[in-house]
């Protein structure tokens, strides 16, 4: 799918390159090189739009501006907030924006890739901070645009966060920002008492299902074969083998050790919110 999309609009440069190649190579090489060039351009295009990988916690201080204890505390606060309200808030603090594009474009792509908020409710918020750029942005998902309108995002940034950041008080600024976002969106939705990660009801693993069916088919074939041979030797082993495999395939979603892990619920954003600097 991806590749056909790209192929339908070839780059002029690639086209020019192809034209040169066509002039000097034989038919077979032409084809092969052409295909290679198109693939290469598709890969390059793909690399340009990379977004940061999904975070595994709610509070992500990639810049190291907050003490580990405080980061842990923020993370637990945010996880607890999801349990109570189902709203997912992710905080991401970087040194610099890992992209050449505008802040709004970058945050939009990142929000979509991280899928913050519950599917259907779209009740996620991401608070982006770029320390060395002195830029930040609060971006809500579609479902929180009412509770957290652009004006409120702007006020939070301008009146509560930016003054503290200006005084190099990152912990205080982030605490104030998180607190005000809580205040704005609490009561909009009700939580289930569990985070997405904890309820583990993320999309069923297609690979697991495939393996399950594959194993099932093999066992059925084995049973048939054994019947044809006149014995029941393999049927006894079949049952426990299946259930054992199935069980181990689905039981891995709960997060590890000392912190509450974050899993995106499938939420989506329409680009609302506000950006600010300090």
């Amino acid at each position: 799918m991806e590749i056909t999309l790209k192929l339908s609009q070839p780059d002029p440069a690639v086209r020019a390159g192809l034209a040169v190649l066509l002039g000097m190579t034989t038919m077979r090489r032409r084809l092969r090189l052409g295909i290679l060039a198109l693939f290469a351009s598709a890969i390059v295009a793909h690399a340009a739009e990379t977004v940061p990988p999904k975070p595994d916690r709610y509070f992500n201080d990639y810049a190291g501006v907050v003490l580990p204890g405080a980061a842990q505390r923020f993370n637990e606060q945010l996880a607890q907030f999801e349990r109570e309200t189902s709203n997912q808030i992710v905080v991401a603090v970087w040194r610099k924006m890992p992209s050449q594009s505008s802040i709004e474009d970058f945050t939009q792509r990142t929000f979509q890739a991280w899928q913050v908020g519950q599917k259907g409710r779209n009740n996620g918020v991401v608070f982006f901070v770029f320390v060395d750029d002195h830029r930040m942005r609060i971006q809500p998902g579609y479902g929180l645009e009412g509770a957290l309108p652009d004006i409120t995002c702007n006020e939070i940034i301008r009146d509560a966060v930016a003054p503290r950041f200006r005084a190099n008080d990152f912990e205080g600024g982030l605490a104030a920002g998180i607190d005000l976002i809580f205040k704005a969106i609490r009561g909009e939705y009700k939580g289930s008492g569990k985070t997405v990660r904890e309820s583990g009801s993320t999309q069923s693993n297609p690979a697991g299902l495939l393996i399950f069916f594959f194993v099932l088919v093999i066992i059925l074939l084995a049973i048939r074969a054994s019947r044809r041979l006149g014995g029941y030797r393999y049927t006894g082993g079949g049952g426990p083998f299946v259930s054992g495999n199935w069980g181990s395939g689905s039981g891995w979603s709960s997060g590890g050790g000392g912190f509450s892990g974050f899993s995106g619920g499938g939420g989506s954003s329409g680009g609302g919110g506000a950006s600010g600097s300090w």
Partner: protein
């Protein structure tokens, strides 16, 4: 002998059934893709409307400020009026590229007028210090961003539909049932827009999938 004829008959029937099933499937898929395009088009319309609704308020706020440059204000009002004259059906994505181009041109003119107004407002510190103006500016910026997001979403939905219409089994249906490809928003010309990453082969159609809602 009889048996082999019977076998051939059933296999032909089976093949026919498979083909018609896949035909139904593709037809349903096209319907879904088309509805998606129309929905995304409605989203685009609603964010444009949202911006248009902000303008009277903005004009009032700014006009209240002492000796604000009148020409930028009238420009905004005029652009707002010409946007009102180029209305497209909000429930059906346009098939005619020219029509969409006109619509986009009118909206682009309004974008330009608004950004000029914001630039000019830099010269009026008292105005900029007011709560009302700051709120309006935040809303305007948010809305401009929503517009670009929804336009991207619309374009990738159109991309999906148009690609499906050109592909093999579905392209037959498209003639039978009269599905039509839809028009794209063109990339913004000039530098009035914040630079977005161009991973896009230099063609006017925006890149697919990058900002689209994730489709698992």
């Amino acid at each position: 002998m009889k048996i082999s004829i019977f076998k051939i008959g059933t296999s032909v029937l089976g093949l026919a059934a498979i083909f018609s099933l896949s035909g139904c499937n593709s037809y349903n898929r096209l319907v879904i893709l088309e509805q998606n395009v129309n929905k995304k088009w409605a989203d685009v319309q609603s964010v444009y409307q949202r911006r248009a609704d902000l303008i009277p308020n903005l004009v009032n706020t700014v006009a209240g400020s002492a000796n604000f440059e009148k020409s930028t204000l009238t420009e905004v009002t005029n652009a707002r009026a010409s946007v009102g004259r180029v209305q497209l059906d909000p429930n059906k994505a346009p098939e005619d590229a020219e029509q969409l181009k006109k619509f986009q041109a009118a909206q682009g003119q309004l974008s330009n007028a608004l950004s000029r107004l914001l630039v000019v407002s830099e010269n009026y510190p008292q105005l900029r210090a007011t709560e009302a103006f700051q709120n309006l500016q935040a809303q305007l910026e948010g809305t401009e961003n929503r517009i670009s997001v929804e336009r991207n979403n619309y374009n990738s939905a159109v991309q999906d539909l148009n690609t499906a219409l050109e592909r093999f089994p579905t392209n037959m249906l498209n003639k039978m049932f009269g599905f039509k490809p839809r028009a794209f928003f063109q990339a913004e010309t000039g530098s009035e827009k914040a630079p977005t990453v161009n991973f896009n082969f230099g063609s006017p159609a925006p890149a697919p999938a990058a900002t689209a809602a994730p489709t698992p």
